[in-house]
Amino acid sequence: MKVEISRRRFLQGSVAMSIAGGVSLGSSSMMASAASPAKKVGNEDKKIATLCEMCVNKCAAIAHVRNGVISKLDPNPLFPKSRNMLCPRGNSGIQAVYDPDRLKYPLIRDGEKGSGKFRRVSWDEAYAYINEKLTKILDEEKDNRSTVAFCAGEGMAEHTFHSFFTMFGSAHFLNHASLCLATTVSGYSLTIGGYGQADLDNAKYVIMAGANRAEAIVTPDTMDFFKRTKGRGAKLITVDPRFTNTAAKSDKWLAVNVGTDLAFVLALTYVAIKEEIYNKAFVENYFNGFDEYKNHILSNNYTPEWAEKITGIKAKDMYEVAREFMANAPQAIYYQGRRTTWSKNDFQLRRAQAIFSALGGGVDVKGGICFGKSLPLVEHEIPSPMYAQAKPRIEKDEAAVVGGTGSWVAFRNMVLEKRSPYPIRALFNYKHNPMQNMPNNAKTAEFLKNLDLVVTIDTMPSDTVMLSDVILPECTYLERTDPVVSFGGIEPSIAQRNKVIDPMFESKPVMEIMRGLSAKLSKPLFEITKKYDEDVQSAIEDDSEEKVYADFDMTKPFEFDQEELNVHAVEKYEGAAEMLKEKGVFYPHINEYFKKTGVNDYEYYPEAQRAYSVRNTKFATPSGKIECAVPALAKKGIDAMPEWKKEYEMAVPAGKFRFVTGRHAQFTQSGTSNNRMLLNLVPENFAWINKRTAEKMGIKFGDTIEVASKVGKTTIKAYPTEKIGPDTLFFIHGFGNYSEALTLAHQNGGNDAAIIEDSIEPMHGASCLHDTIVEIRKV
């Protein structure tokens, strides 16, 4: 018997697009294009407002173009988030555009995987090749779309790639979150109702543990804060196994044993509760389950004396920090941090930090952790299709909560260990470098080699690109207009990356790549769906094939021009589209509010208009209050309240080291590893080893050492220093690339992806980056 079904049943979700469906060219943009002057020949000098993409911060820049060549990038003072600055990476964007090693043409592998042999093809040949492979895979897998996985690096065009993924209908999207900040975002969100923005412009007391804002720059945090440290308004306590540049800017540096921060926070909490120095009014009004938490902390005896043995931090320092923190509260912040998943307890650590911060009342208040306002864009969604044969995410049960961005390590390992309930056959990769960003790169290499099809879209021939089958060259961020983005915060704004120069060689923006690829794939892949999807078959019987196909048409999200989409996204703000194109930044009343206050300084919003407090006493948590306990998670094996466990104590065997990694201001992971300017500033990474330990081992500055763990090894030059403890080894992430096509980065320095073990924490399956023991020898 046939059942009447509506075509709508195939729609499982939607793809957000920044455009009103079917709206034709707006008059504003037609005016704009008519008004733009004809291209002059000769000495053409122009300035274009754009946004940086050398890291995740998206600082506003003004590009100077002379005769079609980008000659300089200057900071754009209009953007409240980046505060009129460009860091060394921002300045080095020019070298990213003009890097001779850039991917220039579509390539198809022409030799063994990993041989580095590719042949140049046309875009259409590349699309045809992908189409041929994909239709075969999906036919063999009976339209189980989830056999094809998608992964992406952070960026403003990630959204566009994600639309492609959604239309394709796979369950597998993977990105940096499980290799980065998943635990801290959810730890703070589930506790205080959001990750928030630390108001470092007004905080009086800040604990930065592991976070290294003097080196790992985050805007506006870094900009605001280091003008106020060193006795100039803000007291800074740095908790770090290393003496970082941030430590050098602090009032107190506490050298914590790696992976024991949770014991430190619990001890601070103990002092605050035991001495009743917390903000009682705030706790009374806005805490849910405080008595339970109080009892938990006190009955477990999380005293500073207890924590001293675990953390290596003196008890008296913990008493002092807890008391000073509460004395300065609510203008006191336990800073959230970013790339945080260090150890198995990381989610609990972030929960404990958030609760401790909230004990002072420093949430949703000036000088505390603020949530700020956002400026909504006009979002229009187009429905995405439902594929009956697409199976659920394979690694969904590998951690308590595996979200929409997956657990990369769990996913990869299940595939490798053949624990996947169905085969994973192909990977689409946008601007992501799993060979460098994921621990245990020997496994990543094997994973990539085993796949039938790896398609990588990138600008540079990374280690992952070299293990791909099809390479699609993206243009760099200065060669494209990206989706307009709204930046919420204390001083919210909207900013737009405008194209500075036309794409070089045969490179293209992702929007165009997705448009071309979806046009090639859409109909052949629908044929496969028709063959295996009974719902689709009966729908076609009821209705016309044309109508059913309309729901599965993969080309829909990519029909419009990005600049036109951006105009519509901001149509509710008068004058925004023009200003974003001309000046790169917009927010309501910008012309009235924005003021120059000194040779370097600007005011973005008058004090009364800044969104310090927005929650109106109700937090975005299930109870509307600060959550001391999360009992729902207990059912999934995640402790309802942060507690210290014996298993968190990891002894470092004599003669060995616990390895920690990190970032500095001159490089952004592996993405900038081949940049000539940055290499000119910092030619390679060095392994920090305690000076006295190095002396005993006969290791001097510049000696090459081999660093080996259970999973691999790498070589690197030594930097003996007293800024690190005798049982810890550190070097910066992103170096030691294997790709021979990266002329400058090839085998330059040490590669941490080769040595870090691939364990995951239980909450999100995020990879534990600081749980590896290494040994070293001079070579």
């Binding site: 600055m85 860091c87 060394p88 100039r232 003496f243 000194g598 000119n680």
Partner: protein, 187 residues
Amino acid sequence: MARYGMALNYNNCINCKACESACKEENGVLLLPDHYRIWVGIKEAEGQFPNISIASQTYQPSQCQQCDNAPCQQVCPTNATYYSKEGVVMVDPTKCILCTYCINACPYDARYVDNRTNTVDKCTFCSDSRLANGETTTACQATCPTKVRVFGDLDDPNSEISQLLVNKEYRQVKSHLGTKPKLFYIL
């Protein structure tokens, strides 16, 4: 006529080297070893782990001190090094014979042989680049995340730099040599 100087809130410096990269892009300094007009002087931390003296690690952003009484100008045999009307110590590439006397004479180690211009080059407060284009900031100042540098006219009593020097304590580097540097490090 303006007389240019620079005040440095050097306690703000996080040693990110944005200034160095902006200077190189702005002024076309080749990306070669030992080619730089500005730099960050680092004093490494003293002490033994974990007892490190926090105050001992400092960053001192540095460049040509734009001396009013510049030793490099005094020793230059061809007058390639000269003062601009604004008091900036400049180099005329058509006159420089690469004798490098200036390198030896400069007590601040601020000069280097530039393989592109074939001169013993140095910081010129972006006189040929930004100031010539009508900008009022140097590249190192404009790009700085923590706003270390304040560039301006020392002869204008109302300029931000003049006000800073009136209201804040500062020190100058090796001023006992009589060089009269126009860089001022705000304490």
